[in-house]
Symmetry: C2
Subunit: 600 residues, 2 copies
């Protein structure tokens, strides 16, 4: 095994420490955060930021990829005494696309017996929330979301435009419970993925981002995917979707889940299609159901289900410029068309919910008819499906299942808000989870940017989680650098959205970095940034010497032209009293004021 064990990136980010806050209701919980130390001359406390990286950034943690992460939530789940462990489904050759011998990715060395709900109980966070129970997961989320919030209350006056969001000054565990009970937030937390650190996706919490990984029939391997997962969370991915297709799907997923500190999402249809040899028409409810059980037992935290693609909607896509661009959507459309039947996902959605509630797998109701081009944005097919997703949300909620709704896609700026408004209206405020949207089609190679623009805007309008787009979108599979670029771009979009929504804690980091900038604390500027390594290396390209790290100028303007240096002189002047009075005097003096009526 050893030689097969993937190498992952570990160790803290610059000047950063992983710290823990203890629970009150649940003293056993330890909520991780990252503290960034500032230079002593700052005379400021460390800046606390949200930390999705898991144990990998903790030097004290023992990381062993072939053993997996500690099973953080195992005791919490057991203590609820509403689940049982059982033998679980036997792995089948088709689970790994009939890969054999050297082509077969070895299974994960450790196998834990899966758990499921007893006697058809609902073991979802939503069920507990509705029963008035504040779970450890909920308190964990409350503490996690409150980063620096107490400080913020004094420091910041609430600004921003929330478009109806109701972000409280301080988040209590019961607020989390209430949001989950109303379906306005979800805590994706399959009972078979106890390694994950609980997090919430909801409009009244910090905007989250998802990173997609996964191999395809054409390229990539298990080791690469595990690395990408760890790498993505290091830079801030809040959840990771494994979109693998091709062989070895089952085993690759096992390695990813056992080592993932964040919720893992999948599109079960992809594996189901592999099981029927890639022939969409041969898909059946039985194969799909078997795949759901398989993945639920492994610990997948949320399933993308394309149950909103209905037979009568398919003609609406025929005249589109780019047809159906969702893989799952196109597969289901082909199935419906071939059999001239309604989608088995739609017909069996009830039973799908029964599976989800037994493991607490959240739903990400897929937008199989999302627009794939500016020309197709907000069309009849897209909105018809969205309305159906609203119906399915009610069905899932009736079964105590947690739901979020997937959104587009390619949408020009002036059509973005309509998407958010309609989703809120039709889907009962279930969290919206959008891919971009891309605001133009003309920049392949830069679609992290075309979509980062749309993502920031729709995040501001109320989208709870933003699915990243990498520079390789439309062109190829993202490598390690593309994953990082995608994650950082989407952290920017999510943070810009938090600022605009008036999140009470969001601006703390901006202000700390701006003060560092104004005071020429270069190291602090690097360390407070989303990507310290890149910031530092760009600075050093022109001013490499250590001495320049304390220079009161930079290479852009040089010493003479440094506006910030001059501003300090001005501030010094201001200390000499009377500047304000001077100002008054000048305001009064008309002779310096060129009045318009003096002009020809």
């Amino acid at each position: 095994m050893k030689d097969l064990t993937p190498a992952v990136t570990t160790g803290p980010l610059p000047a950063s420490r992983r710290v823990w806050h203890k629970g009150l209701l649940h003293p056993e919980i330890r909520v991780p955060m990252r503290e960034i130390d500032l230079h002593p001359t700052a005379g400021e406390p460390p800046v606390t930021v949200y930390d999705s990286s898991g144990p990998y950034t903790d030097p004290a943690a023992e990381v062993a990829i072939d053993r997996g992460l500690p099973r953080l939530r195992a005791d919490w789940i057991a203590a609820r005494a509403d689940t049982e462990s059982y033998d679980g489904r036997d792995p089948k050759p088709e689970d790994n696309g009939f890969a054999e011998g050297t082509r077969l990715t070895p299974g994960f060395p450790v196998r834990n017996r899966p758990r499921r709900a007893t006697e058809g109980r609902a073991v979802t966070q939503m069920a507990y929330a509705r029963a008035g129970i504040v779970t450890p997961e909920m308190e964990f989320v409350a503490i996690r979301e409150n980063l620096g919030r107490a400080a913020a209350k004094e420091a910041l006056s609430r600004g921003g435009e929330g478009f109806g969001a109701e972000i409280p000054d301080f988040i209590t565990p019961d607020f989390v419970r209430d949001e989950v009970a109303r379906g306005r937030a979800i805590i994706p937390s399959n009972i078979n993925h106890p390694e994950a650190e609980p997090m919430a996706i909801g409009r009244n919490f910090l905007v989250k981002i998802n990173a997609n990984i996964g191999n395809s029939a054409v390229t990539s391997s298990m080791a690469e995917e595990v690395q990408k997962m760890v790498w993505a969370t290091r830079w801030g991915a809040d959840t990771v979707m494994d979109l693998s297709t091709g062989r070895n799907i089952h085993n690759i997923r096992d390695w990813i889940i056992r080592n993932s500190p964040v919720p893992i999402g999948t599109v079960p249809l992809y594996q189901a299609l592999e099981k029927v040899g890639g022939v969409a028409e041969d898909l059946s409810w039985e194969v799909f159901r078997d795949t759901l059980i398989e993945q639920a037992e492994q610990g997948v935290d949320y399933f993308t289900i394309h149950a909103g693609v209905r037979l009568h909607m398919i003609p609406m896509t025929v005249d589109r410029v780019t047809g159906i661009v969702s893989r799952g959507g196109s597969i289901m459309a082909k199935w419906c068309l071939h059999h001239h039947r309604e989608s088995f996902l739609y017909e069996h959605f009830d039973e799908i919910c029964d599976i989800a509630r037994a493991y607490d797998v959240s739903f990400s109701l897929g937008d199989g008819l999302r627009p794939g081009s500016i020309a197709d944005a907000n069309d009849a097919a897209q909105f018809a499906e969205l309305e159906t997703l609203g119906e399915l949300t009610q069905i899932a909620w009736a079964k105590d299942c947690q739901v979020m709704i997937e959104g587009p896609g390619h949408v020009p700026m002036h059509k973005i808000k309509e998407n958010m408004d309609k989703q809120l209206r039709d889907c009962g405020q279930a969290p919206f989870y959008t891919l971009g949207p891309l605001t133009t089609d003309i920049a392949p190679g830069y679609d992290h940017i075309t979509s980062g623009i749309g993502a920031a805007m729709i995040g501001w309008f109320g989208t709870a989680m933003l699915c990243y787009v990498t520079p390789k979108e439309h062109l190829g599979l993202p490598d390690r650098d593309d994953v990082k670029t995608g994650v950082i771009t989407y952290k920017i979009a999510a943070h810009a959205a938090d600022l605009a929504k008036g999140h009470p804690a969001a601006q703390i980091r901006d202000d700390a970095l701006s003060r560092a900038r104004f005071e020429f604390r270069w190291e602090d500027q690097f360390n407070l940034s989303l990507d310290p390594e890149t910031a530092r290396s760009m600075h050093d390209e022109t001013l490499p010497k250590e001495a320049h790290k304390v220079a009161h100028f930079c290479s852009m303007c040089g010493p003479k032209f440094c506006s910030m240096r001059i501003s300090h002189d001005i501030r010094a002047e201001a200390q000499k009293d009377g500047l304000a009075r001077m100002a008054e005097k000048f305001r009064e003096r008309g002779d310096l004021y060129i009045a318009l009526d003096d002009k020809p």
Copy 2:
């Protein structure tokens, strides 16, 4: 000289030809555009796009950097018979920062005698426009802005939200004249820069972008700057600002202007400061005036003038998180403070206008008090200055001078529109020219993205030109790659804004690229993109073979999962009639429809 002559990038972009449209009112004018040829299987005409690259992308053009570009507008200017050529100001040692010997960048080999207006005449495009004269520059702009507009009229129904913009279906020369006469658009075109191809900056035209270049005391050289200028225009920069400081400013500028196909802007204050050894307090109206004449004679097309920074505003900046971040603003603030006097720029603005009108130098009224951090956005200092810029606009217009207004800076999304609305209100709809704005402070190294988000939004709201920000912002001087990344990012922002405003021709390119994508015309996808080289190389990383350029799938999904391939099957199905009827049938059949009241 030869060895000193900069090497610049020449040659067409892939599948592209530079073509010309002739004038009607002025048959002598030839307006350049770029036609992108599509693959024969497309059965579509070439796509025409705006071309800012000048002769450098024309294989037929003879490029000789030490001779400069053809003097395109020389005859037009002479024909107006309202200017005279004269000896001009004698170059002085301080023009180049007293650089000598090997440290002195050689002057441009060819010297043309400068021209100026006779008898205090106004030779500005605004003066002609107000007199009802449609200049060749105006017709040039009309033809240039009409790219594919005729086709668009049939192809596209006007959509979008213009927030009061009045973009016509078709642009006539007289529409251009009228916009210039009202001050809603400018055509920066110094009579001493006849090499430039006329372009317009105005809310009712395509959104433009500016690229900043320029050396600093710390780094860079003439050859690099000329290369950057050509490189920036190759990728789409509509104007270039030379922000050089340090030695050799005069000679470097000469090389840039003589070879620039786009308008060149400067901040004369930078050179004035060099002339007084970098001591802000020693600046004087005389030194500044001398610098204006010097640069007007060289052919600078627009001056950034920080006349809006007034003594009484300085105290408003003292409690800011980042003080004054505009170089020009901080220099003037220091001067005002030291002398406890009103700014000489403000007091002498009348005389500044007299110089500008004699050469048709446009004004870019500088926002010396723009916010340098999220914390300082939209504060009293910023808006007080903006109101003053409104007053100065009226003064300049009274002298027939062309004006645009500079805007921020660092602004969170929810505060962006207020900037646009106030600018329109206070500055009589003079074109707005913004730097970004950056929507968060926490991502140094990625500020092309933090600002691209804000730029797209404010461009949508009505900003006429977007000043690019490169990844090096706040960290160092942009190199060639940074310039390209900044330009492409801002072309994305400008185009996204044109789409959202409902520009009638904007979507043509998106639709052509999306059709190519849907039809697996990979070459067309690359060639229609803003950066064909990057798109192609990213695709080839995973599917290098030429055969894959016609593959009906890509490495992201592989053949089995290609949604677009499946969509084609679906479309084929649809050809078999009756699919629509099927849809009807299914809409009626209630049994497949899970009604909510059937649920528990």
